[in-house]
Amino acid sequence: MEIVFQQVANGLSVGMGYALVALGLSLIFGVLHVINFAHGETFMIGGLVTLIVTSLLGVPYLLALPIAGIAGAILGLGINRLAVQPLLQRRDGSADVLLATFAVSILIHQAVVVLWGPAPARIDGLPGAIEIGPVVLTNQRLFVLAIGLAFLLALEWCLKRTRFGTELRAVAQSQFASRVVGIEVDRVNLRTFVIAAVIAAVGGGLLSPVILYSSLMGQVVIIKAFVVVVIGGMGSIVGAVVCGLLIGLLESMLGLVTSEGTATAVIYSLLLAVLLVRPYGLAGKKAR
């Protein structure tokens, strides 16, 4: 029985990792209606920046996270200006952005491999762990869960309670109508993109002590994040987080009774089923 409780803890912690990446991906899709393939690499850069400032500059881990966030913001700004905004105006803008951000992702990955090297590295996050009976959960994993929830609540509050949130929701519904009522759509797009990048980069900083920093960490995580986004509903913030947690839980529970490979196969079957039966996702709204 204790093994089941341990797996619940493991699953939630893994799932929040998926959610942290899926959150930004979903946000960008919801507002800009594009798929940002470079999102995973922003996550990786967050991990790398955390690694560099903690191990080389000796900055405390908790202070390194906001620095990773700033790096993410700058990167997000760059990607948006270089590979998203100029292409969005075109007729097949969304498809072009998909390809352009894919190119950017390879560019970032190769640049890191060449300039920093391909070696994985350990980042020491928060020390210690809590034990409830036989169940062990490290403080770092708890911290990931807490920050993930904090991001979710902050985003929800921002969307519902601030002027920017209102503008963002308006742009998500109709860019044309938003322009008509005087909303600066490009500015909303840019801000959305930067917020998503900050979440991804901080997510990279949060998760690299758990999964170890590696130049491949972005490529691995973005696949799962896509699954989460599609199942949760493209553009749904709550859907991304809830679905991330659920998939983490489902994976770890299935992992108990079957092999990890089978568990992964079940998740991808679920993806296919959702696309066939409920293409707007579990939490997404049907397009009118």
């Binding site: 762990a129 758990v210 170890l212 994976e251 992992g255 108990l256 990890e260």
Partner: protein, 374 residues
């Protein structure tokens, strides 16, 4: 992902290190001996292997080259772990660069493809790191392999496990590859129903909490890890520490290195393994190799670097002995017949081209360092 062909070509030329000795006579220098090097140079292991090869070339050139003062020049191409890219690179070496001696490589699948090309072109292939048994199963007499195979490793390591460790319950965590599956099968054969958990993980997986929780639940007192990615075995060791899994931990032979120990941190303490080489080996050539490597790269070389070194060192020495740098058949014959001094000791090749250098060296992690076991 990974569909974009990365055709980046790295051609490294090793400058002659003859210093003032050749100063002023550069114009009359004999033509260099060119050796092709295939490596996934953008990966960590590929870089390590490549750097070992570079040090070998520099040491030989510093000694005055081979065959009457000819320098060794390496022509290096990236294989990116992809058979298709490996074949492209090998073809370039054979057809474009007209090179008949190819050394290096990490990946077995790439090596298997290159073996066929080498055979078709009459070239000599000195595979450095690939472990798959089929690399030396072609029957072609100009293929050599320096690394040990999983079966060779098991022969020695099985004795350590059964006679020294004597576990009552064994769990295996293995990457889902030929190597991982072979290891699970080997351990099942060795321990029978003492194997209480055998889990395979994907080579891109980065969270192992489920696997380690299952292993903990199995009550195993020995956990064997068979995965070559250090971020993966490092992560597994860390999780075993996090989840307070109290068992002996071994990383299967040939995988654990000091970089991996660094990645795992104090979670690697007292984990054990075995390998064909450690940098602390006490022989003159090893000391010279380690010193030269440290001077150039500010790091201590380990097995991959040593195998990269050996691949060039042995080719050059064999060319010298055979008296030719153009006839792969002659060089292959000499390689088969002789005993060769390398940093890991005396190396001989069997009729299939498989290298052997005596028993494995048992290793243990102590105070964050990978050292020979007492």
């Amino acid at each position: 992902m990974g569909i974009v062909a990365r055709r980046s070509v790295i051609a490294t030329t090793i400058a002659a290190l003859l210093g003032s000795f050749t100063f002023g006579v550069a114009a009359q220098q004999p033509p260099p001996v060119r050796i092709g090097v295939l490596m996934p140079v953008k990966s960590l292991v590929g870089k390590q292997g490549h750097q070992g090869a570079v040090v070998a070339a520099e040491m030989i050139n510093a000694d005055g080259g081979i065959l009457g003062g000819r320098r060794i020049e390496l022509v290096v191409y990236d294989t990116n772990f992809q058979p298709a890219e490996g074949v492209g690179a090998a073809q370039r070496l054979l057809n474009q660069d007209k090179i008949k001696f190819i050394a290096g490589e990490i990946s077995s699948t790439v090596a298997l493809a290159v073996v066929q090309l080498a055979q078709a072109n009459g070239a000599l292939f000195m595979a450095a790191v690939p472990k798959h048994p089929d690399v030396t199963a072609s029957g072609y007499d100009r293929v050599f392999r320096l690394n040990s195979t999983t079966a060779m490793d098991a022969r020695d390591f099985d004795i350590v496990l059964t006679e020294k460790i004597k576990p009552s319950k064994v769990a295996v965590l293995a990457e889902n590859s030929d190597f991982g599956r072979l290891t699970i099968a080997n351990l099942r054969k060795l321990f029978g129903n003492k194997v209480v958990a055998a889990e395979a993980y994907d080579m891109t997986q980065n969270d192992f909490s489920t696997l380690v929780t299952k292993v903990k639940g199995s009550g195993a007192d020995l956990v064997c890890i068979a995965g070559s990615n250090m971020e993966q075995y490092g992560n597994i060791l860390r999780l075993m520490q996090e989840l307070k899994l109290d068992a002996k931990r071994c990383v299967m032979p040939g995988i654990l290195n000091s970089e991996g120990v660094r990645v795992a941190g104090n979670a690697a303490e007292s984990a054990f393994s075995a390998d064909i080489y450690v940098p602390s080996l006490d022989n003159p050539l090893n000391k010279r190799f380690v010193a030269a490597y440290q001077a150039k790269y500010k790091e201590t070389p380990e097995k991959i670097e040593e195998l990269g070194f050996e691949s060039i060192w042995l080719l050059a020495k064999a060319m010298q002995k055979a008296g030719t740098a153009d006839d792969p058949a002659k060089v292959a014959k000499v390689l088969h017949e002789d005993k060769w001094e390398t940093p890991r000791g005396i190396v001989t090749f069997d009729k299939n081209g498989q290298a052997a250098s005596g028993a494995l060296i048992n290793l243990v992690v102590k105070d964050g360092k990978l050292i020979p076991a007492p």
